[in-house]
Symmetry: C2
Subunit: 423 residues, 2 copies
């Protein structure tokens, strides 16, 4: 380890933090990477864990393992609960205080309920592996409860799946739930027909995938409907409880409501005395540093950054990776007394998957959808997954799932929803 | 579904219950298979999930999926809490009461602490997927805590892994823990050297793998020591708490103690008014029925059965499968007015794995150990795993792990031991 250099503390081992850390491999610095979890998570495939298509370890890799050969990094499992920008230290829950010369905050985002935190228990969101396994248990148990239901009304409530939020995550979840109901579970139940399940995607705005061109939103809607998803737009959800949800003025009985509507920046942003936007993202300088603190950087979903065209940099993996790499270059530059031109987001395109053979792709205006888009999405995700083994397993799993419609991870374990503890 | 036939209720979807159910596919009966969990678990590989070599779904398959094409079976998720042998009904936790003409109890065994239930929290055992994931978190977190330790004594306590019980599970766990410490984690930590971890296997009796011939116990001990495991025999553990364990008169600081010593039959046996052995197993008739209740059968780890040589049928998968199949044949025979000769266990041999390239095999007196035994063990376990996909994934995982020493499932999630919740 190089103790003569500056000390860079990176908080968060997601795309932003990890890409910055790796890009500093040859820098004359020592780095401490702090994360609450021991793994980097390939978040674009998290919905596959939630819908039992992949196992948790298929889309995660231990941070220590990824960085084992980078000698100037120390990985530390822990949670930051305080930042003293004057003293240049961060405080951890275990009482330790860590000093820094440069600090990168890249702790990402979490789901948010727009002031309705009371909905959280009844409408789980999807940000971590634990969230994904929670949703998986809920969905699998819903079919079990439907099979055991005493009345038609009860059965229908267990077979109603509502996904709130028509962004990429909501679209992925709804499309996959429809496939589970119509294909995967075929022939497995004796009292219910899983294909009778209703999967509803609810978007308050006028269209799904609002970040895409309108023509692709229309395609996505058509593809969702072909998969068996009922798409409701232009109507916000006004209430959620354990029995169902309120849409407009109507209460709909549904025992499974999933939340894919709101995102808020990690609470770490609030520890800085810096201006933030409505979602809690830190309004950073053009070089991604915090106003008044050139030694503190923010990257990924915690940073509020504008593109040249005035649009915000979207909260997607390529954005976080580019910011992380930029911060590494900025630190490099500072160490050698140079300055860097402002961060500039390179938009390679936008893609979203909808389900089996259905996706939409927008590559700088070159738009396509359907099977070709789906194949493109597949290839991109296999390519960007970390680790050769994980890629191999992913391809094998997906080939298997494609031809058999099976989702091998339909195993209920953990949590209070598991049958062993709830009866 | 055939409603004219008799109703067979099978409790437990392990090897005993599942093999009985499948062997009744062509019988003129309808079957209700009740399990607290939604999956059949390939228990012989559970230690691999605990030691992060496999994902939970790799060794489990949904019971509904396995039985989807067997029309005379209904799978029911639920827990039996009462048996009324006079009325021929079982009661479930959800309040339902299910009648039967024939009942098969095959709910297996759980770990037991020989009257020391207070050890349970500090020395987790291994019977379910949740147990395995709990142990996985504990082991992975121990290395993290060692890395963060403030004193040498604290660090050493986190790096001391004690496995209590020298049977097959204890041997597997200890051998694999040693491999993790010496190989898998190499280069990943900056403050500790994981290879300094002490892995101790503690057996109260005179030798490990007591169910094997003495020569193989000696081989197993030598192979364990070669892998870096310290084997302690002839000394019982007298106490366990959160700080360590007492061996003889000495208290040893150790933050990770795993329990592989005691097994007790499932509590379901106690619901019958039938004689049971010390471990709670039901003393069944030669046809595996309960004394006085020819319509109630017991199979697998819940049954206490003697072989022709007076030895008990061991609590291994082949024993449970053979009992399950026998009960199916016995019900077949009863339905056609025949009787069957008594159950006879066919002992094809005994094998136990110890770790990388180390195992012992005893095939009816033909004994071998080392690499050949390990290859044989591997082939047998791949062969007996349910589902083509799972076999493929297993082979792929093991080839990968063999050449890289990596264990891909080293992902900490779930539970209160996970860093996100405990800091």
């Amino acid at each position: 380890m190089n103790d003569s250099g500056k000390h860079v503390v990176v908080v968060g081992g997601g795309f932003g933090g990890l890409w910055a850390t790796r890009a500093l491999a040859s820098a004359d610095v020592r780095i401490t990477l702090i994360d609450r979890r021991n793994h980097h998570l390939f978040q674009p495939l998290l919905y596959q864990v939630a819908t039992a298509g992949l196992s948790a370890p298929d889309i995660a890799a231990p941070l220590r393992h990824i960085l084992r050969n980078q000698k100037n990094v120390e990985v530390r499992l822990g949670e930051v609960i305080g930042i003293d920008a004057a003293a240049r230290t961060v405080a951890l829950t275990d009482g330790d205080v860590v000093g820094y010369d440069y600090l990168l905050l890249a702790s990402g985002a979490t789901h948010a309920y727009f002031g309705h935190d009371e909905w959280a228990d009844d409408a789980p969101g999807l940000k971590t592996l634990d969230d994904a396994l929670h949703i998986r248990r809920r969905v699998l148990m819903a079919f079990e409860r439907a099979e055991a239901a005493d009345t038609d009304a009860e059965r229908d409530a267990w077979l109603h799946f509502a996904v709130v939020g028509g962004g990429p995550t909501g679209v992925e979840l709804a499309g996959t739930l429809a496939e589970i109901a119509h294909k995967t579970l075929r022939r497995e139940f004796r009292r219910i027909d899983p294909a009778q399940a209703r999967v509803r995607l609810i978007e308050a705005g006028p269209r799904v995938l609002a970040s895409f061109p309108e023509s692709l939103s229309d395609k996505a809607r058509a593809q969702l409907q072909r998969l068996g998803v009922e798409v409701v737009t232009g109507t916000p959800v006004a209430g959620i409880d354990a029995q169902g949800y309120t849409l407009g003025a109507e209460f709909v009985r549904a025992r499974t409501v999933l939340w894919a509507a709101g995102v808020a920046a990690s609470k770490l942003g609030a520890l800085l005395e810096a201006p933030r936007d409505r979602a809690g993202r830190v309004l950073v300088e053009p070089d991604l540093s915090v106003p008044g603190h050139p030694e503190i950087f923010v990257a990924g979903d915690l940073a509020s950054v504008r593109q040249a065209n005035g649009q915000p940099v979207p909260g997607v993996a390529p954005g976080a990776k580019q910011m992380g790499s930029y911060v590494a270059r900025a630190i490099h530059a500072r160490l050698s007394g140079r300055t860097l031109p402002p961060f500039r987001y390179v938009d390679y395109g936008n893609l979203a998957t909808i389900g089996r053979r259905a996706a939409v792709v927008d590559l700088r205006g070159f738009k396509f959808s359907g099977f070709a888009a789906w194949a493109f999405w597949l290839a991109a995700h296999v390519f960007f997954l970390i680790g050769f083994r994980n890629r191999l397993i992913l391809m094998l799993n997906w080939s298997w799932a494609y031809f058999t419609y099976q989702r091998h991870a339909r195993i209920i374990f953990g949590g209070k929803e598991s049958p062993g503890s709830s009866g």
